[in-house]
Amino acid sequence: MRGNGGEAHRAFLDATLPHLEALYRIARHAAADPAQADDLVQETYLRAFTHFDQHHGDNTRAWLAAICLNLARSQARSASRRPVEVPESEAGEVVAPDAVDEQAIATLDRAEIETALARLPEPQRWCVLLMDVAGYTVRETAEILQCPRGTVLARVHRGRRKLAVLLAGTRNPAGGDHGQA
């Protein structure tokens, strides 16, 4: 794609810049260091521009998100700074507290939510991030993560529950977490 002149890069920007907000929301929480979210977005666009002639325009928004997540994964591996993860079991991994106080969760500051999100197992974290933070649909999320939509539904549901349980534990550490490592 490089070297095709101004028309090519303007066509690329016209097709991709409308999705900048969604990309930033992903990068903000997928980057190994949140302070490098801008860099990750920029690198995503540069990588996408290089391969734009191979993109057939099916879903540019999902295509950009897949590039962004792949870059974030490889950067995290390089930096060896992956967020602490909780092993994902197939069933029964969510141990509910006595009550998830939705009003209390609503008063948590965003740093606590970010910390809890970073503690989710990666498959669940990506689903919550894509759907609930960045606004992608189930179908788009399945395309980005290359997994069946039923798997996405299960993961996002488990991720949300675990997030709520972790946050309830944050608000009420004496009784809320029930050993959710």
């Binding site: 002149g5 101004g6 900048l20 977005v41």
Partner: protein, 226 residues
Amino acid sequence: MDRHERSLAAFLAGELDERSAAEFDAHLLDCADCWRAVREDRAGRAAAARLRDAAPYDLADRVSMAVGLAARPRPARRRGRWLAAGALAVAAAVIGLVVLALPGRSADPPAITAVVAATQRIPVPTGQPIPPGTGPVAHGQGWTVRAGVGELRLQYYRLDGVDVLLAHADRPVGTPEDAQHAPPGDMPWTVDRDGITVYCPHDDVLVAAALPADRLVALAQRLPAN
């Protein structure tokens, strides 16, 4: 995931048909576990939604600039040098360096390259015209770009009816080999790249415009923080 959990996830996603959804609704009245799962799902989704940040105002400009630089064609005479540097450039891209294209001279410091490219893209100002003899008036929003390992804060200004670019760097920008020092031996220098004059009054400040060097130097004295 068992059938029960699958039904629950489908219900929460609004994917059950009307009859199945009504049945599940009725089931929720009697099943404490499912009701708790619904509450946790909704609480988790609401919490995650609070992380929806707006992108920084200058990110679109920064991305556009980086793509614009990457799109610039390279003169054929530099192809050999470019190929030799190819592996290094790819590695630089991976770690987040942006300024890969070399629109000026290949030996130019990255800050010079970025400033020349930005000057070639000066947009037409909007709003009230600025008469000659007035200014400087900033037009457009300032933005930050990466240049090599450093960053540049860029802002367009209009004064005396012409547009200039002011760049503040977070480190010394370096000096091109063919820089013209005036007076000889002093710090300030100018250099011409493709009809763009770049003026460096301090080691971390650059001013650029499509103007003769003497006129640009005179105008630069009126720019802020210069």
